[in-house]
């Protein structure tokens, strides 16, 4: 059964006001197109969870979509501060819940594997533990040192961008894998956006590369260039210039409003966004191929 629909339809039917949303991807494959569609549809009171909120949540918070963020590193990677989320937190306008990266992805791992909690070794740093009641300490039943535990995170919706996917939702990912699989298995509903929709036979030609199976996927959307200014390994480069530019834009609420009007509200979809970026940006982000050696699964 095909699950293909437009991203607009997928967001309409899958993302509701008040949902806990996890837009997955550690630097790589961040689903900006879906974030922008959520902004366009005016979703409110979302809890936005991501290890690194990145620019996508800076923009969604700026657009008024969020009541809370859950994170483990709130910065503009390699650039500096994530100004909008930071300002909202400092002003007391946005709730937050915080972990280390390991705590955050352990919560997803617990959610994805059906466990009531996951243990981690002690780190000797206990200030976060004192400030976040979700982080607890339990006795090792086998007599070792106490372990730190975190509860499962089960988002209402996970949004996963992938290189290629078949119409049923079997998805191939390569490059940095981040927490894509964990977020997808942890979530109640999953939107997959894909650079390419391929025949099922392409997926079946390389089953080791399938991170996400069809039966956990709610909707499949064909959205080329969906992760810009993040990137898709093998398809286009990370737009570091935009990450640097956002550092300036986000200094001024007016500039952010103008940017959102021009690049999100003023455009119907990702195709229009990519066209608007123009040939110079396309050229800058173009990459040359570097193919893997083929593997032989054998004909049995």
């Amino acid at each position: 059964m095909t699950k293909i629909c437009s991203l607009k339809e997928a967001v309409q039917h899958t993302v509701r006001d008040g949902d806990l949303v996890y837009c997955a991807g550690f630097t790589h494959l961040i689903p900006f197109a879906a974030g922008h569609e959520i902004i366009r549809q005016g979703r409110k009171n979302l809890t936005l969870a991501r290890a690194t909120p990145d620019l996508i949540y800076d923009q969604m918070v700026a657009a008024g979509c969020a009541k809370k963020v859950i994170f483990s590193y709130m910065g503009n990677p390699g650039v500096g501060s994530l100004r909008i989320v930071r300002a909202a937190v400092e002003a007391g306008q946005l709730e937050w819940e915080e972990y280390s990266h390991f705590g955050m992805i352990s919560r997803l791992q617990a959610g994805a594997t059906g466990l009531p909690f996951i243990p981690m070794k002690q780190t000797a740093a206990s200030d976060l533990e004192r400030n976040n009641p979700n982080i607890k300490r339990v006795k090792d039943p086998y007599g070792g040192k106490d372990v730190i535990v975190v509860p499962p995170l089960n988002p209402d919706v996970a949004i996963i961008h992938v290189q290629r996917c078949d119409p049923r939702g079997n998805a191939h990912i390569w490059g940095i894998l981040g927490e894509q699989k964990e977020a997808a298995f942890a979530a109640k509903r999953v939107i997959v956006t894909a650079e390419e929709i391929v025949e099922e036979s392409v997926i079946r030609s390389d089953p080791n590369r399938t991170l996400i199976p069809e039966f956990i996927v709610t909707a499949v959307c064909h959205v080329p260039h969906a992760s810009h200014p993040s990137y898709t390994q093998g398809y286009y480069d990370r737009d570091n210039a935009f990450y640097l530019a956002w550092d300036k834009i986000s200094e001024s609420p007016d500039a952010v409003r103008i940017w959102l009007d021009e690049w999100v509200y003023g455009l119907p979809d990702r195709d229009a966004y990519w066209k608007k970026l123009g040939p110079e940006v396309h050229k800058r982000l173009k990459i040359s191929p570097r193919l893997a050696a083929p593997v032989d699964y054998g004909n049995y």
Partner: protein, 256 residues
């Protein structure tokens, strides 16, 4: 006047701390440069591991972020973040971690979370990322920071990652496997922990003075008797940094 910037100086001295074959969990910014410099100089077999889940990276350009695609192309392996933090870091397969933060205190504890009260932050910083676990479980940790009084308080506002807590025995009692922050490289010199875990001045960079270091430290900093003077960056190190790694000066122009 020295013909190198404070950032270049710290970067070079951090790179020199790395040994060939070290498995290093590489952080963003200057640590990223330091590792890439070591790889191109004295440590060609350095195993660069990135918390995004990349093992044995061989980046062909300077990655701005620690999740850049250049880290993956040509790497020895890729795994999920959960695998990275468990199979690699928690299991004890990381030799070196680089750490940074807004505050580093007398016992090497690091604050990268908040200035002021946690619930009502005066200045909200990015938070832990991977550093809470790296500080605990990497065998050796190194810290790079400009030497300013506000960055070296006697006690951090918030301990994002553990140094020696209130003394070395306290850290040891928690059972963490890592040996803690072994070297702090600043733009004035080098600090190292003594037997109690208290940071002491062990080396000055050329031109720096003990008085200047003590003025810029928030506690009564002790000076090791055998105080050394460091070797300045070489032409080769500076050339690699400027021409190959950061030609646009994104990381190295300033004072850190």
């Amino acid at each position: 006047m020295a013909d190198y910037s404070a950032s270049e100086l710290m970067c070079v001295h951090s790179a020199r701390l790395l040994k060939d074959h070290d498995r290093v969990l590489v952080g963003v910014g200057i640590p990223n440069l330091a590792c890439n410099l070591a790889l191109r100089t004295h440590a060609p077999n350095l195993q660069m591991i990135y918390e995004a889940g990349v093992i044995g990276s061989r980046p062909s350009r300077l990655p701005l972020s620690i999740g850049d695609p250049t880290l993956v192309s040509g790497a020895a392996g890729v795994c999920s973040m959960y695998d990275l933090f468990t199979f690699y870091l928690q299991r004890g397969n990381v030799d070196v971690g680089f750490l940074g933060g807004a505050q580093i205190d007398k016992f090497g504890n690091i604050n990268a979370t908040v200035i002021g009260e946690y619930a009502h932050p005066k200045t909200r910083l990015p938070g832990s990322g991977g550093s809470q676990e790296i500080a605990a479980w990497a065998d050796r940790c190194y810290i790079m920071t400009p030497h300013q009084k506000r960055r070296f308080p006697e006690k951090v506002d918030f301990a994002t990652s553990a140094g020696y807590l209130s003394g070395r025995t306290q850290r040891e009692a928690t059972g963490v496997r890592g040996r803690g922050p072994l070297v702090i490289v600043t733009d004035l010199g080098i600090l190292e922990p003594d037997e109690s875990g208290e940071l002491t001045l062990t080396a000055l960079h050329p031109g720096a003075t003990v008085e200047k270091v003590r003025e810029n430290t928030g506690w009564d900093l002790r000076v090791r008797q055998d105080l050394r003077v460091t070797e300045p960056p070489t032409k080769k190190e500076l050339r690699i940094l400027r021409e190959e790694l950061d030609p646009e000066g994104i990381h190295l122009k300033g004072g850190g």
